[in-house]
Point group: C2
Chain length 366, copies 2
């Protein structure tokens, strides 16, 4: 069994996801290691944080260092020296973000590198091959991403192509005879009926789990949550559900409360580099003048390396003068905060008090 | 006793320097913490490296965060959370590097901030006051720095002013009634006779130690070493000698072999950020194409965090894609290398085999 649900509280659930590298407790937040590194940290830091799973970006790793180097290193785990679960995205989202630099046809997506303008094509088949070469634990299928707003016709066309591509990806996946897991991507715009159709189709491909793509692309949050709810309702209990690219504190409570099992986001890491850190009572902009003489830690009692030794005043100084240590220390704090929140969410679900814990958290945080 | 020589081997010697914060084993290499942080590292890293003493720059800390914030934090040690020896320079070297932005008269140096163009004056008295507010362990005296080449007349004029300023700095130092140490700066251009005169004058001020300034400003290395030798020969055994701003591997052997006790340099840290790392057999430029598929550590057997887990190939990738972790990991390696070399140099002096150890090192390194 790849995935077992271990407890339920309303729509929220805890579970265990077994991958070739470890057993991941869900709900799980996956820090983003775009280029084979969680920005500003190294794998000693990830071990101290007990980060069970990471997302790495196929598009970025394909361009640099390139799959031949990762393959020769013995795969991405060995290249990075990381022993947890690695999930690779399909590259679809990045390629579709290139806008003028890409062209879609039935075969796949042709795009130009954002580094040197060189021309490349991603197809459902070669993206599976790419993930095989990277050696990640969870593979995704190439999908066509649409923006928001989007007409139902355009959303349906993109969904149909995503479905045909998912079928081709599944065939390519079977040929790899791998122990890695296959997670195709559920699309369908922000139309619940298309999401239902997409769910039925994907389940026919016997996936190990389902990626929920095409959210958080500019739509209002109410729409995100209602379409997400319709999507998870259409999926069987036994398949893990991965909501792609979301993970702000409030989003974790909302999405996991609707039966999502996995999320990833640059929220803790990118905000940290911008000087924005999170506490139980909300966010602080550390470079602000108000922190220049604030000799308290970011958050009293936080055991992270930034709070254990340093004051807001010192971190404010480091960030203002652009010392590299600021980016690492604030990243450590924000990931400590986020992964601590995940432990809290899992405990609340197990103990049947998820809704109360959610209310308690949000009332102090907002 | 502030300083005790504990062993001698030719002109080289080991010793113990007692400061208000710790006992520093000499010869010592002091990493540079310009803005109150060794670039890319934090103080957990410095503890793991066993860095006994650091140099911080008065000029930079004066401008940002400013002495009032450091003072309110309880001094630079508390602000940074660092328990070793902190030496602060006089700001003279930085201010004289500003060229068009500064004006010198008998009172002091008036300069414009390189950040915002605001006008400031450093005098021998206020630079001592500044160091008192920073709370560093070793204070230096404002000096007038000349370039190279420089006429004997110009070097002599600058020396005379440096001498008058050192006298004023000493008076100001006495008024502070501090346990911190007073290290005025020996100048005199690259003229041995001026250096001898300067040494006599400074010794009259009863300094705790002597800074050797005005070296490595573009002159040929032979001249550096001959004038350095003339300078240390003019100093009594019991005063610690600090050669400012030098510290490449070969320079450590040359200078400590000539009776220097302390050095500082951005050599390990700045080179690391530029991708240049040091091994027993010389330097490597990690971003070079030759390392893209080199799955060995930077140096076999090196216990630093970079060599313990990662390959040259991974570090090459991280540096090429500008991941912040590259700068930290390579900095850790280079400081491990440099501080390891210091342990080796001290052991060689104690065991009376300094010259042989120097030859062995340089024959493999160059």
């Amino acid at each position: 069994m790849t995935f077992s649900v271990t407890s339920r509280d309303g729509k929220a659930r805890t579970g265990v996801l077994r991958t070739p590298h470890n057993e991941v407790e869900t709900p799980v937040f996956m820090p983003v290691a775009t280029q084979g590194s969680v920005k500003a940290l190294d794998q000693d830091d990830l071990a101290a944080l007990d980060a069970q799973a990471l997302l790495a970006n196929s598009y970025h790793l394909y361009l640099r260092p390139g799959p031949e180097i990762v393959e020769e290193a013995g795969g991405l785990h060995k290249f990075m020296d990381y022993g947890g679960t690695l999930l690779t995205d399909s590259g679809g989202f990045q390629v579709f973000s290139l806008e003028e630099l890409r062209k879609v046809d039935e075969e796949g997506v042709t795009f130009r590198s954002h580094h040197d303008g060189s021309k490349h094509t991603f197809t459902p088949e070669n993206v599976i091959r790419l993930q095989a070469r990277l050696g990640s634990d969870i593979w995704t299928a190439l999908d066509e991403c649409v923006g928001w707003p989007c007409t139902p016709e355009k959303a349906q066309d993109a969904l149909k192509r995503t479905q045909r591509w998912a079928e081709r990806a599944k065939e390519a996946f079977i040929k790899e005879k791998t122990k890695s897991l296959f997670f195709p991507i559920l699309q369908g715009g922000l139309y619940p009926e298309l999401r239902l159709e997409a769910a039925k189709h994907l389940l026919g491909l016997e996936p190990d789990g389902i990626c929920l793509g095409g959210f958080s692309i500019g739509e209002p949050k109410e729409l995100t949550w209602s379409v997400l709810e319709a999507s998870t309702a259409a999926l069987p209990e036994e398949k893990p559900r991965y909501l792609m690219g979301m993970g702000a504190a409030e989003d974790l409570w909302e999405a996991f409360g609707r039966g999502v099992d996995m999320m990833d986001c640059v929220w803790p890491t990118r905000n940290a580099r911008n000087g924005r850190v999170f506490t139980r009572t909300g966010a602080l902009n550390i470079p602000n003048a108000e922190f220049r003489k604030d000799f308290r830690p970011i958050e009293e009692g936080c055991p992270c390396p930034a709070c254990r030794r340093y004051t807001r005043a010192y971190l404010c100084h480091l960030h203002r003068v652009k010392e590299l240590s600021a980016y690492r220390l604030l990243t450590l704090h924000n990931l400590h905060f986020t992964l601590g929140l995940m432990r809290e969410i899992r405990a609340a679900i197990k103990e049947g008090r998820f809704q109360q814990a959610r209310k308690d958290f949000l009332s102090r945080y907002e």
